[in-house]
């Protein structure tokens, strides 16, 4: 009986150590890979810091800077600025925007930088934040910010129209 008990204890130790070791190893690998390689998109500061070459395809995400949204005369092309409150990247997109696209809201875009530093996107996805609320009681967006040029941010108390 004593032998059975020690064997159970042994299995308990081996199983616990094995689970902890495997979990630790996988988590270490994930952290070693770093945030950028496992993240879906780059934010404007990272784009500036990395000096990404023209024509290389990547995803750019951040907030649509308040007051930056302009519809071009052809009625299909949209220009706006994506900001992370530390840096900006101008974006040009031709296509249909998702319903949740708004100034001050998060977006994830996919495309390439062109020679004059504009990000030409072929995909724009709206990023919904974690706030839920009934109509007319819009919660304060914790991420909302004025972007570096100090452009007036009307976001936070205006209605969420485009």
């Amino acid at each position: 009986m004593a032998g059975l008990k020690t064997r159970k204890k042994q299995r308990l130790v081996v199983a616990s150590v094995a689970v902890a070791a495997v979990a630790g190893a996988i988590l270490l690998v994930l952290f070693a890979l770093g945030g950028d390689s496992l993240s879906l998109f780059l934010q404007p500061s990272a784009v500036h810091a990395k000096e990404i070459e023209v024509g290389k395809r990547f995803r750019l995400g951040g907030l649509v800077a308040p007051g930056s949204f302009v519809k071009a005369e052809d009625g299909l092309t949209y220009n706006f600025t994506i900001t992370d409150c530390a840096a900006d990247v101008p974006v040009s997109f031709k296509g249909i925007l998702p319903d949740l696209f708004r100034e001050g809201q998060g977006v994830v875009t996919e495309g390439r930088l062109n020679a004059d530093g504009t990000f030409v996107a072929d995909t724009v996805l709206a990023k919904h934040d974690e706030n839920y609320a009934p109509p007319g009681t819009m919660p304060k967006n914790a991420e909302a910010c004025t972007h570096p040029e100090g452009l007036d941010s009307g976001y936070g108390n205006s209605s969420g129209s485009r």
Partner: protein, 239 residues
């Protein structure tokens, strides 16, 4: 704990719990869905699409909860060699796989109108897909080996290796940039939704949990009876 390792004892306990679990399940489903579909307000941005959340979020919670049940059962089975623990993992896995599939499908149906796409390979979506494959792998290992005990042990080891995926799912939205939004309910500074949305969500979550208990107990009883049948027929074959 050791008491429930006895199949007869387990059956008695299951029969005592089942009627209550069924009542809670029926009541919580009816009340929760009524709240979710009729009385709760639309969202200021998502409009009526927010109602998908009342199924999606509880399903996602259950996908992780059920995995922890499978993992705990696997650990118990490997360390203490309890046959009932081994069967508990086997009984729970298909329920977890179903909840995971439900979370993935409802998420995609919400994603298309809200994000503008059914799917992106971000940290949250990818790690939940991995969870789904872990369930499938666990179930496949049970069927893949002829000897039940060996099959169960192999499946249990896979289940334990996969445990690391649970914190990855939970914190994927904090560690990495994702398209998926961060947690709204399970967060340090309290839920980011008003009570009239939180209540239907929690009620449906309760209904899902009761549903899990009902189906899990029936599947356990089935597995135990199947084992009994195998033993009896082998005795009969010999006699």
């Amino acid at each position: 704990m050791h008491r429930f390792a006895n199949p007869a004892e387990f059956n008695r306990l299951a029969d005592a719990i089942l009627p209550w679990a069924k009542i809670i399940m029926a009541a919580a489903f009816a009340y929760g869905l009524y709240l979710a579909l009729f009385t709760s307000p639309p969202d200021y941005q998502q409009g009526e699409s927010v109602r998908i959340m009342y199924v999606h979020v509880p399903a996602a919670w259950m996908s992780m909860f059920t995995y922890m049940v499978v993992a705990a059962a696997s650990f118990t089975a490997l360390v203490w060699r309890h046959p009932v623990a081994l069967l508990a993992g086997k009984a729970a896995a298909p329920i977890g796989a179903t909840f995971t599939a439900l979370a993935l499908i409802t998420g995609m149906l919400w994603g298309k109108p809200m994000w503008g796409t059914y799917w992106v390979w971000d940290g949250r979506l990818t790690s939940v897909l991995v969870l789904f494959f872990l369930y499938l792998g666990y179930m496949a290992l049970w069927r893949g080996l002829d000897e039940e005990d060996k099959a169960g042990r192999a499946a249990s080891i896979l289940a334990l290796v996969g445990v690391v995926n649970i914190p990855i799912i939970k914190f994927s939205v904090d560690w990495w940039n994702t398209l998926h939004q961060p947690s709204s309910v399970m967060r340090m500074d309290g839920p980011t939704m008003p009570a009239e949305m939180l209540w239907p969500l929690l009620t449906v979550a309760l209904a899902f949990k009761a549903y899990f208990i009902v189906v899990f107990l029936y599947r356990m009883k089935l597995e135990i009876n199947l084992r009994k049948l195998t033993v009896l027929s082998s005795i009969e074959a010999r006699g």
